[in-house]
Structures are given as C-alpha cells and as structure tokens.
C-alpha cells in the first residue's frame, strides 16, 4: 500500500493556482498567529509553539 498523499496540483493550471493560494494562506495565517502570540507571551515561548506546530507537520 502506498502511504503517500498524492498531490495532483501539477495536473492542471487551475489546481496549481488553488494549491499555491492554499499554501500561501496557511503561511500568512501562521505568521499572523506568531505575531499575536508574541504579544501574549514571551518571544521564546511563541517560537517554541511555532516549532511544535511545524514539527508535528514534518513528523506526519
């Protein structure tokens, strides 16, 4: 069984644009989240939280 997620974003230009927009939106949201969290807690803690989120994605 192939366990990889299959991304067919390159199959058509429309998929490519949509996929790119989704990634861009995710990046923007994460950056905004980081900015807000820095106002709520020390910078070190917010960086730690960001690292935790990214490591979850990488591990999966």
């Amino acid at each position: 069984m192939n366990h990889r997620l299959l991304f067919h974003v390159l199959d058509s230009p429309a998929r490519l644009v949509l996929g790119g927009l989704a990634v861009l939106a995710a990046v923007v949201l994460v950056v905004r989240l980081l900015q807000f969290e820095r106002q709520l807690m020390p910078h070190a803690a917010s960086r730690w939280l960001l690292g935790l989120r990214l490591s979850v994605i990488v591990l999966l």
Partner: protein, 736 residues
C-alpha cells in the same frame, strides 16, 4: 462501501492531540502569590476571569482539533459509492492505475480470422492507453507459462508502454492467466491512485484459466479482500479476438520422442512423434518434414494421412554427422495455428561416452573378472569408432578423482559401497552423471540397502537372500514388462534376443518410495524386478539385480548383450544433455575454467537476447539462463559471432505445452463461476469496457477538503488569539 482511511497507520499521529494541552501547561507562568492590601483593586472581576478561562479552553480545543484534522488528512480519507464520492465525482475523475495483462499463449496466434487475437489485443491495449489521463499509471505483463513482466513497476509514461506493445515476442506455449492476474493485483498494492484496474486481454480459450482450481481462485479472493474497498482492484477480461472461426481444421505436432538425448557419432537417432488433427471432418494428408539446425532436409519429408480428429504416427531416422549439440524439429506445413506446427528437441552427439567399470570381483585370469564381458562388448575389435570409451578399475583402487572424467560409472558386484564415495558420487549424479549398480555373489544386501536409504544413490533396497533357479527352471525376462519403457526394442522374441537369456540368480529388489518413485524397467518371468531406474538431480540411477558377467545369467552370450549394454549406458548418460526442458526450468551448460560468461549471449525465439549468469555445481562451472518462459529454440553463441549472424552454437529447446492446441472456448457457465462475487467482469469490446468503467462505483479521496477545513480552523485560531490580544491580555513587553 463508504468512508475509509487508506493510510490507517497515520492514526498514530492522533497522539499529537496531547501537544496543545502539554504546551498550555508547560507555558503557564508560575507566580508566587503574595497577599497585600491593595490586591483587591487589581484583581479582575470574577466574570472576566471565567471568560478568560473559557477562551483559553476553546483555544486548546481548537488546537487539538487542528492536529486531529491534519492527522485525518494524512490518513487519506476516501469515499466509495457514497454521496460525497458521487458529488465530487461530478467535479473531477480520480486517477487510475491500470495493469494490462496480455495473453501470450500460442492460441493468440490464430490466423483464421481477419487479424490474430494477439494483434487485436495489442490494438485494444492502444485504445485503452488513449483513454488514460496524464496522471494514470500503467504496467504491462504477459501471461506465459509463468508471468513475464514487460513494464513493471507501473509508469505514467504511456509512450513507454506503447513501445513495449510493439516489441512483444510472438505468442507461444500456454498461459497461466490466474498467476498473471495475481501478479497484476500484487503490483496494484504498491500503486497510489484510488482506482486500480487489471485488464486481461485474451482470446477466450478455456485452456489457461484453470477454472477448476478453486483454491487458486480463493487465493485471488483473499488477495483482493486485503485491499480497502476504496482501492480494491477491478479485474476486467476482454476478448477482442472473439468470436473465432474455428471451423477450419488445424493440426499440431506432439512432443518429440528420441531414443536418447546423448548419441554417439555415426549411430542413427530415431525421432518419433504424432501429428494430431483438430476439427478435420475427413482424412487429410499433411506434409511433415525434419529440420536439423534450422535446415529442412529435403529427403526427410513425409506425407501423413490424419483421420478425422485423429492422429498419425511419424518416425524419422537421422545419423548426426558432427559432434556437439544439434537442434532437431519436426515441422508441418503451416496452418491456421502456426505456433504448434512444429515440435523441437536437442540431441548431443559425442565421439565416445567415457564409462568407468568398477570391478568388484577382480581376478588374475581376466576372463573370470566381473567386467570381462562388459569390457569386451564395449570395445569390439571390429568397431573402428567405438561409441563407448570403457576403462576398468578394481574396486579397491577406485578414487573419487576418477568420477568427474566419466559419463557413467558401473559398480559391478562391489561388496559394499565405501562411505568415502558418497559425497563425490552424489555430486557426480546430480550434475548429470549416470550410475549403474550390478549385483552378484559378493553383494552385501544390508550395506547396499542402508546406502539406498541414506544416500538415495540406489533406487531400490536389496532383499536378504538371493533367488536362484537351475537348469530348465532358469527364468527369462518378461517381454511384456519391457513395453512402454526405453527398453521396448528388446521386447521382441528372436534368436539370440534379450528375452531369450536365462537367469539363474538374482537379488530381490524393493524400489524405494517417495515423490520421485523409481521405475521398474524390466521384470523377470517370476515377477522379480530385474532393472530398476531412478533419478537424482539431473542424473540417472539404475540397479541390475543379476550379474554383469555370465555367472548368474546367459545374457553375455547373447548378441543383444552388446546393444543392451550400449542402450543402458546411453540412457544413464542422458542426464548430461538436459538441453530440452520445460518452460521455467533453467538452461544449464557445463563450461570450462577459461569460459568467459560476459563474452557469450543466448539468442532466443524471435531473436530476443538474454544474458547468461555464472553458476557452479559440484561438477564445476556452469552457464545458466533462468528466463525461460518463452518456448522455442535458444542458442548460446559467442557475442562477437552473433553480430555477424554466424557461429557454432550450443542449442537448447524450451518445449511448448501441447494442450494449447485445444482451442475450446471458455464456457458461459465457467465465466459466470469465475465472475462470482464481482471478482471478474467479462467485456467483449472496447465500448463495453468504457461502459463498465463509466458504471463502476464512484471513488474519491477528500483529504483536500479536510485540509481546507484545517485552513478554516487555523483562521479561527488566529481570530481568537487576536481577540485575546485586543481584549487586554497583551503581554507588556516593557514590563517583562
């Protein structure tokens, strides 16, 4: 049918749900509470504190949900035949992984119609390729006696498959379709697309489906059940060559029978076979000829009358002029099914067969030695070119180093086997050597029986007491027992013949039992086995229950003694010439120390080239070819000579299954049985295939919807965090 996760191991990622909670607990600041007078003016109101806690809880839950969604997306959620699949199916068509299985059997070469089933199948495959999208992957395998992978693993480069379709070798032999389907299904376990299909292109012939083998088909069911519903492969069988006009008769040549595969130079070899008719309503005359090394011999052409659906025997005799291996073929004039109009074999001609006679009862008077008559028979003074090069050695001077130089070893009246012989003799026989044990007054039956049980180098156990008969009570060979064996030629009663010999002494033989049971080649009139033969590896074994000399029988005094001795020795040496094998068996050739494997190549049917491998056995180095699924003629040639198209060759033949000539179609009832439980769908043409694909249950993955939801919730987390910041809980960086 419904929602499934295609990658369930990813659910271990749900352990990550605890991370937001852990992060919350670990990042909480620990404050030391100090009560002081004005504290009551700084404390938040009770409602405000509760609101903060609720918002924190909501944020934690939201973060846990985000992790959960990410895990579910990675676990590849899929829907088959559900509302989501139907809805998304209208938006997009999911990608396909297709394994095309082409029937490579001889019947695909039927020329009775407008085009051969093979050509129709290839055309069909091209149309299927045209229907595939750019992300669809394709593999191509050919069903032969075994499975021949042509494009494996599947590729999205469809031009590669188109090119391979144009280079498929000519159909021949039989096809193991269930094995090919199982291989195709196992290929689909490694692919990634949701829709997985096996397309079998065949001609509707019943032979090759093995429909009666329920266990085989149950295994396929088990294999299919191992898939999630969403990716369960669909197996479709198309028969583009049907309906076939089988009213025109066709004929096939049965496998060749040669008296021996190893022949001495100058001795005529007899080649026998049968021409079998299929569908001929009247007696038909067919021309049949003999080919040697690819050359049809003009003076070896016969006309045979084949009765309606009957057969006609054919026999050729040929004296091979030069030493080495030779490719023999009996060929019919071509008919509607050309693949079975010829039958082939290989015989090897040698100058003289080296035979080692081990005398177990040597005597100073040579005429009274155990091997005297045998040596005299094998080296007749009148024969200028003896077929056997016999050498005699006394049993107590026998050295295992003598074995490799011999083709056959004869242990004549040796009292008991020396344990030191076991290993070298086993290697010698397994590599194709022959071993004949003849008994006599010195035989220790217990020692030989133990040897038979422990080594397998004797095909029978020996009874405790020898039998005897004197005078007129002496027994002869039962001529009926010789029928059907390679000794049949000695069965005729004539003056001085084999069956006229009288036996006064013999040891009772009990053939060993087992999967490769020995065969009784000759029996005495009293029912006692006289000659028992067996196999070990590539070699032959035999035990003669009487003496090799004239002590216990009168055979040495009969003219047939000479020819019998030659016959039995060449039979035993036949294992050295295993040049005619069935599909799937390796081609082996003993080679010398100076043989360079990389300088040789095997040219097979249709000019296909195969690289040989280096191997070794106890008898020395070997050249080996394992890829032997295509029936036909193979020649091992020096690589440089193949470029010029000439050269001396070592010949081999992979035989074709004669049952392939039976063109009976797969019955409707059998099709229904094979299709039971939706295992297989039969389609007649390309339009039906398209309809079947269109009607198949919609399948879709929706991980991208889950990721979209993830994005939405991420936005929610940002909004909540922002509200907390704007709500006055901002961390005063200056204060910190």
């Amino acid at each position: 049918m419904g929602w499934e996760l295609l990658n369930t191991p990813m659910l271990w990622g749900l352990a990550g749900l605890s991370l937001p909670l852990l992060a919350h607990l670990l990042t909480r600041r620990r404050f030391e509470r100090v009560s002081w007078a004005a504290m009551q003016f700084l404390e938040l109101e009770r409602d405000a504190r509760r609101r903060v806690r609720i918002e924190e809880l909501q944020l934690i839950l939201l973060r846990m949900l985000l992790v959960g969604l990410l895990v579910v997306a990675m676990a590849r959620p899929a829907d088959s035949d559900g509302w989501l699949a139907k809805w998304l199916g209208e938006v997009e068509t999911s990608r396909r992984d297709v394994v095309i299985v082409i029937d490579g059997s001889g019947s695909m070469g039927w020329r009775g119609g407008q085009q051969t089933p093979r050509a129709a199948a290839i055309q069909f495959a091209h149309r299927v390729l045209e229907d595939l999208g750019p992300g669809d992957s394709v593999a191509l395998i050919e069903a032969r006696h075994g499975v021949r992978a042509v494009i494996d693993p599947p590729t999205v480069n469809h031009d590669l498959v188109r090119a391979a379709l144009g280079q498929l070798p000519a159909p021949g032999g039989t096809a193991d379709l269930p094995a090919a389907i199982r291989r195709a299904v196992s290929l689909l376990r490694e692919t990634g697309n949701l829709r997985r299909e096996v397309l079998v292109l065949t001609d509707g012939q019943a032979h090759g489906w093995r429909a009666e083998d329920g266990v085989l088909w149950d295994r396929l069911d088990d294999q299919l059940d191992g898939f999630p519903d969403a990716t369960r492969p669909v197996i479709r069988v198309a028969t583009p060559g049907e309906p076939r006009n089988t009213s025109s008769p066709h004929f096939h040549v049965a496998p060749l029978e040669v008296a021996r595969e190893l022949v001495p130079l100058g001795l005529a070899v007899s080649i026998r076979t049968t021409v079998i008719g299929h569908g001929n309503l009247t007696t038909v005359n067919r021309r049949v000829g003999l080919e040697i090394d690819g050359q049809r011999l003009g003076d070896r052409t016969l006309s045979v009358s084949v009765p309606p659906d009957g057969e006609a025997a054919v026999e050729f005799s040929y004296r091979i002029p030069t030493a080495g291996s030779h490719h023999l073929a009996v060929v019919l004039d071509e008919d509607s099914l050309p693949g079975d109009d010829r039958s082939e074999t290989v015989v090897t001609a040698i100058d003289a067969l080296p035979v080692l006679l081990v005398d177990g009862a040597p005597h100073p008077d040579a005429t009274r030695a155990e091997t005297f008559f045998a040596r005299a028979a094998l080296s007749a003074a009148a024969n200028q070119q003896p077929w056997v090069a016999g050498r005699v050695v006394s049993w107590d001077r026998l050295s295992p180093t003598d074995f490799p130089d011999s083709g056959v070893i004869v242990l004549a009246n040796v009292a008991r086997p020396d344990p030191a012989w076991q290993y070298p003799l086993t290697e010698f026989v397994q590599a194709g050597g022959g071993l004949l044990v003849t008994l006599g007054d010195r035989t220790d039956p217990a020692a030989w029986s133990d040897w038979a049980d422990s080594t397998g180098l004797l095909p029978a156990r020996i009874g405790d007491t020898p039998g005897s008969a004197t005078g007129s009570a002496a027994v002869r060979v039962d001529s009926e027992s010789l029928a059907g064996s390679w000794m049949a030629r000695f069965g005729t009663t004539r003056q001085g013949g084999f069956t006229e010999a009288r036996f006064t002494g013999w040891w009772p033989l009990e053939p060993l039992e087992g999967p490769a049971a020995p065969r009784i080649a000759a029996v005495l009139e009293n029912g006692k086995p006289l000659l028992v033969t067996g196999r070990m590896g590539r070699g032959h074994l035999a035990v003669w229950s009487s003496t090799l000399d004239a002590d216990w029988n009168t055979l040495p005094a009969r003219p047939d003694y000479v020819s019998f001795l030659h016959e039995v020795l060449f039979y035993l040496a036949g294992g050295q010439s295993t040049r005619t094998v069935t599909p799937g068996d390796p081609l082996l050739l003993s080679v010398g120390d100076d043989f360079r494997h990389d300088q040789y190549v095997v040219v097979g049917p249709g000019g296909l080239r195969f690289e040989i491998e280096e191997a070794s056995s106890g008898a020395g180095r070997l050249a080996r070819l394992n890829d032997t699924l295509l029936p036909g003629h193979y020649a091992l040639l020096p690589r440089e000579l193949t470029e010029r198209g000439i050269g001396p060759a070592e010949h081999f033949v992979i035989t074709a299954d004669p049952a392939e000539a039976n063109l009976d179609r797969l019955e409707q009832a059998t099709r229904v049985r094979l299709a039971r439980g939706g295992r297989i769908e039969f389609v007649a043409n390309h339009d039906e295939l398209r309809d079947a694909i269109g009607e198949s249950a919609p399948r879709t993955e929706f991980w991208y919807l889950v990721l979209l939801l993830f994005l939405g919730l991420l936005l929610g987390e940002v909004v909540m965090t922002r509200r907390m910041v704007r709500g006055g809980y901002r961390q005063e960086t200056s204060a910190s």
